[in-house]
């Protein structure tokens, strides 16, 4: 913030200044074991050996690596960043004391504290509200009465899989989930314990050679979450994974695979943060969702990777491939994302609506400030009859940031009666940012009905004036209006996230007025 308008309280200005910086930028000193720098077949063998993987998994990785070497980085997105040197990074880092711990008591205190600071207690007894990683302030949330508590004072439980650099350090509530038949564990464990499931579904939604970053991930993925919900089971609690990059110069390549069998339901949350560092770090994840007949997956993300500083130095490069396959009839998937972090975001959570009557939803809020760049959106591929999709995207650009909504709605020949509704609205705060919309619509069936609306505007002076007249500060007024602008999406978030997300929207924009 350079120019401060007159009439704004000094405190507000200072608070805003303080908030321009990133809250989760601390790093934890913990000795770690890293694979040598660089990327080659030996590194892949090293990762695979570290994870005690079977031969088929290693072969899968090596094949992906071979493919990757023939591919080139996609540059079609509206993003500018320097050439990435894929040899100048570590592809594997784990705490020295080992990867997975038998009991939470064995997890090194530093790591527990690290997650504690992020607001994610890993000791089950301490789990109160679950993921607070995205909270504007964990402390604040504690002092405020919690709006989500159930009437009898019990707090909803959230099972957490905590991924620290390349390894999953703890997965909570596994026993309780097991009773319900739900498998919730790190993908490394799943490869060892449920190879038949992993073998059947891994790469079945995002094929190995899908795109440059997905192929890279297939070769070097380190850890991530595996969820299997058996037929007819409604997962008894929210599942969540918290990703933390701690080491310098290290990329994180997580892989998540969720399978919802016939008639099941699961709600999954994902949060992420990283320390403040001057160099850019790479994060290339792949998320695959398989949804069978009548099942539903609700997938919510609060992405708060380190966005770089005010001058655009440092920050995470976030290249993510997320795709859901509604494989059978009446399947439903809902992606909700709040994107506030990362220096560069390249992410298009997609839905393949294969089963008749299947439903795909995409709700997104992306907020960019300072020098952030985000190119994000979704793909809705309608293959089955009477498939429905809805896209609500709200983009807010401030500072010197650039943001693009890029989406595809594709209606195939046999998708009789398919419907899509798309709304993408962009809001610009200040004259140095950019907001762009690039929708692709392909229709091959006359019975499909597609509607697309998009607007770009700035905050209404009148509304701001009105709010300020009633005693709100300028920044409060902006936050209020922006929250209103985002409401359609915020209300899709699970309760645990909605409060945090709302605060996050506020925090990301503080300092952008003036």
């Amino acid at each position: 913030m350079t120019d401060v308008k007159q009439g704004i309280a000094k405190e507000t200005v200072e608070t805003a200044k303080a908030l321009e910086t990133y809250k989760y930028g601390f790093s934890t000193d913990i000795e770690s074991v890293k694979a040598p720098k660089g990327l080659n077949e030996d590194i892949i063998r090293y990762i695979s050996a570290k994870k005690e993987e079977p031969q088929w998994m290693l072969d899968w990785r090596l094949e992906a690596f071979q493919r990757w070497q023939t591919m080139s980085e996609p540059r079609w997105a509206h993003l500018t960043y320097p050439e990435i040197d894929y040899q100048d990074a570590y592809y594997y880092a784990e705490p020295k004391s080992g990867a997975k711990y038998a009991s939470i008591d064995d997890v090194p205190e530093e790591i527990l504290q690290d997650f504690e600071k992020l607001g994610i207690p890993l000791r089950e007894a301490e789990v109160l509200l679950g993921v607070k990683g995205a909270a504007a302030s964990a402390a604040e949330a504690r002092t405020n009465p919690d709006p989500n508590s159930t009437p009898n004072g019990e707090k909803p439980k959230v099972a957490v899989d905590a991924v620290f650099d390349s390894v999953s350090v703890a997965t909570t509530f596994q026993a309780e989930l097991k009773k319900a038949g739900v498998i919730f564990m790190s993908i490394s464990e799943a490869i060892r314990e449920h190879p038949e499931l992993v073998k059947k579904y891994l790469g079945s939604v995002v094929p190995v050679s899908d795109n440059f970053f997905a192929t890279l991930n297939s070769a070097v993925f380190s850890d991530g979450t595996f969820v299997y919900v058996p037929a007819g089971v409604r997962c008894p609690m929210e599942l969540s994974t918290y990703f933390r990059i701690n080491e310098a110069n290290t990329g994180q390549f997580e892989r998540t695979l969720i399978i919802a069998e016939k008639g099941s339901y699961v709600s999954y949350l994902e949060g992420c943060t990283a320390p403040m560092r001057d160099e850019n770090q790479l994060h290339a994840a792949v998320v695959e969702l398989v949804i069978l007949e009548g099942a539903e997956i609700k997938y919510s993300t609060v992405q708060n990777w380190y966005p770089g500083d005010k001058d655009g130095v440092g920050g995470i490069y976030n290249f993510v491939t997320k795709r859901a396959d509604c494989r059978e009839k009446n399947a439903k998937v809902s992606w909700t994302q709040v994107e506030t972090g990362s220096a560069v975001t390249w992410k298009y959570p997609s839905c393949i609506l294969r089963g008749d009557n299947s439903v795909g939803e995409f709700y997104s809020i992306a907020i960019t400030n300072n020098h952030q760049q985000a190119d994000t959106g979704t793909k809705m591929i309608h293959l089955g009859k009477n498939t429905k999709s809805r896209i609500i995207s709200k983009g807010i650009s401030a500072g010197k940031s650039d943001q693009t909504y890029r989406g595809l709605v594709s209606i195939h020949r046999k998708a009789d009666g398919a419907r899509n509704f798309t709304q993408c609205d962009s809001l610009l705060i200040g004259g140095d940012c950019g907001a762009h919309t690039v929708p692709y619509v392909e229709t091959k069936n006359p019975s499909a009905i597609l509607e697309h609306e998009a607007t770009t505007s700035k905050l209404s002076e009148e509304q701001l004036f009105y709010c300020q007249q009633r005693g709100l500060g300028e920044e409060e007024a902006v936050a209020l209006l922006v929250n209103g602008f985002c409401r359609d999406v915020l209300q899709e978030l699970p309760m645990e996230f909605a409060v945090e997300a709302q605060k996050l929207v506020q925090v990301s924009l503080e300092g952008s007025v003036g």
Binding site: G431, C433, G434, P439, A454, T455
Partner: protein, 397 residues
């Protein structure tokens, strides 16, 4: 990277081109194809599989006028060669020069510059009441290139009526550049009748100074491959831009309407409306882009694309794009694709109309909106008749 293997067509074009950046671009990238963003739905490389040698001169009699334009001076380009040159209206001059070396990065536009028989420059120095009718007539199976330069001086105005008529299976490639000085006003009313065998690319590059106005109406019936690309570079403040397009596609016709409007000045007012119907195995492509530069405040720009699909085998692809760097603007775009509302058809049939009549009426009403901005009533009616006739002819547009 392996070197690109050029198609026969590309080899032929390369041989015809002088050495330079354009030849090099053709050699390394080939003709625009589906791997190139902006050409993903209209692959020119594939469309031009068959080699198109440079066209021979037009022989035989010129076809009768497809549009009778009253009160107009007519210029006829037959296979790219300017034929007759009657008296030009007061305030209009015409110059002919040899082809120019091209600095273009747009391949078809560059080819038109380099390979056109002549570069024709029309200068308009004052308001011209009389219309100027440009007839582009092509036949045979060769490649035809035209390069037209139009300059409007300050305060000048003109109304161009254009028709692009192709028989047989030529490759018609045209470039027209329009330079609009301050307060000038250009109106273009364009008709492109169906040409089921012809391949055509028409590029229009428009540059606009302050307070200039550009109105373009395009009625297209498509062809084996038809692409109209309009690029507007709005440099001055207070511009007025209207683009209206209607497409009616049948058979296997392909029609691509691509546009990019760049707003650099303050307070431009842009309206873009594209409406179309596709039937049989036809395919429509709409790509629109609004660019609003940093500082181009108070820009108001609205883009709408609406398509009706009348058959199982038809296809509509759309990409309405916004790229915005100024915060005090109002930009919107909308896109909708669907079939005729069965409830509406039922309602009107109940009132005694045949299905054919109902469809004609509904489609006529749907497309009629596009012609609204043509203020010349005779011309508007003539174009309206073209649409109505096409509808009555049933499947033969």
């Amino acid at each position: 990277m392996t070197a690109l293997k050029l198609t026969k067509t590309e080899q032929g074009l390369l041989a015809a081109l002088p050495d330079g950046a354009l030849a090099q671009a053709l050699q390394t990238k080939g003709l625009p194809n589906r791997r190139v963003e902006g050409w993903r739905w209209s692959d020119l490389r594939t469309a031009l599989r068959e080699e198109k040698p440079l066209a021979k001169t037009f022989d035989g009699a010129l076809p009768t006028e497809i549009l009778s334009v009253s009160d107009a001076t007519t210029l006829i380009f037959a296979n790219g060669v300017l034929q007759t040159l009657g008296d030009l209206p007061d305030g209009v001059t015409l110059e002919q020069a040899g082809p120019t070396a091209s600095g273009e990065t747009n391949l078809p536009a560059g080819l038109a510059q380099s390979l056109a028989d002549k570069k024709i420059t029309l200068s308009i120095t004052k308001p011209v009441k009389e219309k100027i009718y440009l007839r582009f007539i092509a036949k045979g199976s060769g490649a035809i290139n035209t390069h037209l330069v139009v300059k409007l001086s300050q305060g000048a105005s003109a109304h161009f009526v254009e028709s692009y008529e192709s028989a047989d299976n030529p490759f018609v490639n045209g470039l027209a550049t329009f330079d609009l000085a301050q307060e000038s006003h250009l109106t273009r009313s364009i008709l492109q009748p169906s040409a089921p065998e012809a391949i055509m690319v028409q590029n229009s590059f428009v540059k606009m100074a302050a307070r200039a106005r550009y109105d373009q109406t395009l009625i297209g019936f498509g062809g084996a491959y038809t692409r109209f690309e309009t690029r507007i570079d709005g440099q001055g403040d207070d511009l007025t831009i209207n683009l209206a397009t209607a497409y009616l596609l049948s058979g296997k016709n392909h029609f691509d309407s691509t546009s990019e409007i760049r707003h650099h000045g303050l307070a431009a007012n842009t309206e873009q409306l594209t409406k179309g119907i596709v039937r049989d195995q036809a395919r429509a492509v709409f790509q629109g882009k609004f660019y609003v530069a940093r500082g181009a405040q108070k820009t108001v720009a609205n883009m709408q694309h609406k398509a009706l699909m009348l058959s199982e085998q038809s296809e509509v692809d759309a990409k309405p794009e916004l790229e915005i760097y100024a915060d005090d603007v109002e930009c919107a775009h909308g896109n909708s694709v669907g079939a005729l509302d069965p409830a509406l058809i039922f309602y009107m049939r109940q009132r005694g109309l045949s299905e054919e009549q109902v469809r004609t009426m509904l489609i006529g009403a749907f497309l009629g909106e596009v012609l609204q901005q043509i203020s010349d009533e005779t011309l508007r009616n003539a174009l309206n008749d073209k649409i109505a006739n096409a509808m009555e002819a049933g499947h033969e547009f």
